[in-house]
Amino acid sequence: MNIVVLIKQVPDTWSERRLGGSDHTLDRDSADAVLDEINERAVEEALKIKESGEGEVTVITMGPERATEAIRKALSMGADKAVHLSDPGLHGSCVVQTARALAAVIGTLGDVDLILAGNEATDGTVGAVPAMVAEVLGLPELTHARKLTVEGRTVTVERETDEAVTVLQADLPAVVSVHEKINDPRYPSFKGIMAAKKKPVTKLSLGELGLAPGEVGLAGATSTVIESTPRPPRAAGQVVTDDGDGAAKLAEYLIGQKLI
């Protein structure tokens, strides 16, 4: 089984995240960068499938040079190899271009059976790239999986959203995005961290991928950010300590604000 996992490096949600520059793209230097937690879960799921039979797990990322750290994390968890699409020409790509570029990278890998991804990235929260990649590749997508099983050439997913749990089925090859309830990702072991250093990471530029400038990047983007402003932070209000009258004071406040 040839499994691909789409991983993304994102600003750590624990740090203060900023938009910057004249093009209002992510200020990548302002926050710590980490492998998005949902992608750790996608890697975990890939490893579980590999361990229950046989197969190879390739992680793919499109992102700046620095994203090698995220790749190392995935490799130290146990993924076998990586492809890193990195090129200055990618800067400012829109989400449609991102999906096309990721699909092109997948296309360089030969016969792929299963493509795993997170259901939504914590930075852009688009929640659509896996379905968009599937659209480009002409493959079925089974998204928001809280449970995934592969039997023979059939993939079955329990998809969880607010309204329903839906059981979806398709034939491989297929794209599956995972929900945060699917598993708890493993921590890389010392052995895994050491092994990761020797695992192959293929760097691809746009030229090597055969994508023309304009197919990706700010200039040919189908959407652009024209303005960004930080929202003023909330100020702390009044804090009282409960001496038996805490609830009464709270009620008073709510009445004062006409909230009850």
Binding site: L19, T125, M132, A164, D242
Partner: protein
């Protein structure tokens, strides 16, 4: 005036609230056309509500196959309408399904995707709330058609009558090799409380609530206030409350008039889902809890003594 397509969200023969919001937003850009995709007989039940919310046209795409597939029928219908109608924009709710329909439609039609918009101007400029509300960003599509997902609850619906002239359109045949099939569907009961993203009051419980049984304390206060119930990820992970009620970075984003946090520390990822609420109230026994940094009114104390008393006060006031 250019047509603006609005994909209608509906369940059990009823139009969902967000659709009214989308029709209102669409009217700012052009002539709103509602697009109904469903099994035969769906549109008839929805038409009056769509007319009341200003739909000039209602495209009716009905087929028995629709319930067998998740998003593909809607993508197919919208793509063929984009081709024939040449709308200036397609508006879709930023729900999990809506986001995927929009993404696929943007790829198929080569259109710009503007995601999770919280406001929309007449010239097509979209406003986004970025990084849990820390930034407001504005964007535009550079393509003839913009595909836009709009966050539920962000734009107030302003009902205004429309002609709602019906026109039937075909649901394109599904390519089964490219489309996952629904083999089973279990609805999650919403219950009688308001929907989390629509509620004007939200009462949330965190790990401090301590158990699933204890969540009754949170629910009672919520019911007294006519509120929706929310939960922190720690509460969800501990099995106190179901995932669909999670508020935060990887849960729901809510922006109610009043948000009440009970036994929630206020981690940055929780704040990302609620810090744009109008008024924030917190009860926590730790005076150092970061939730107090953003609360308009905080009480340092035990939620198990304060919440029931507050419930009583609220109930008394209602008479």
């Amino acid at each position: 005036m250019a047509e603006i397509l609005v994909l209608v969200e509906h369940t059990d023969g009823e139009v969902k609230k967000v659709t009214g919001e989308l029709l209102t937003a669409a009217a700012r850009l052009g002539a709103p056309s509602a697009v109904v995709v469903g099994p035969p007989g769906t549109a008839g039940k929805l038409r009056d509500v769509l007319a009341a919310h200003g739909a000039a046209k209602v495209y009716v795409a009905e087929s028995d196959e629709v319930d067998t597939y998740l998003t593909a029928p809607a993508v197919g219908v919208l793509a063929s309408l984009v081709d024939s109608v040449r709308p200036a924009a397609v508006l879709i709710a930023a729900s999990p399904d809506g986001k995927e329909i929009a993404g696929k439609l943007a790829v198929r039609t080569g259109s710009g995707l503007l995601s999770e918009v919280v406001d929309l101007a007449a010239d097509g400029t979209a406003t986004h709330s970025v990084f849990g509300g820390s930034y407001l960003a504005k964007s535009r599509a550079t393509t003839p058609v913009a595909v836009i997902t709009v966050r539920p609850g962000a734009i107030d619906a302003a009902p205004t009558p429309g002609a709602a002239a019906e026109e039937s359109v075909q649901v394109p045949a599904m390519d089964r090799a490219r489309t996952a099939k629904i083999v089973e569907r279990r609805s999650i009961e919403g219950g009688d409380r308001p929907e989390l993203t629509e509620a004007s009051v939200v009462v949330s419980g965190g790990r401090g609530v301590g158990s699933a049984e204890n969540f009754a304390v949170v629910e009672k206060l919520a019911d007294a206030l006519g509120a929706a119930v929310g939960a922190s990820r720690a509460a969800v992970d501990s099995g106190y409350y179901p995932h669909q009620f999670q508020v935060g970075q990887t849960g729901k984003t809510v922006s109610p008039q009043l948000y009440v946090a009970l036994g929630i520390s206020g981690a940055i990822q929780h704040r990302a889902g609620m810090q744009t609420s109008r008024t924030i109230i917190a009860v926590n026994k730790d005076s150092e809890a970061p939730i107090f940094e953003i609360a308009d009114f905080g009480v340092v104390g035990d939620l198990f003594t304060i919440a029931p008393k507050l419930t009583e006060e609220v109930t008394k006031r209602k008479g």
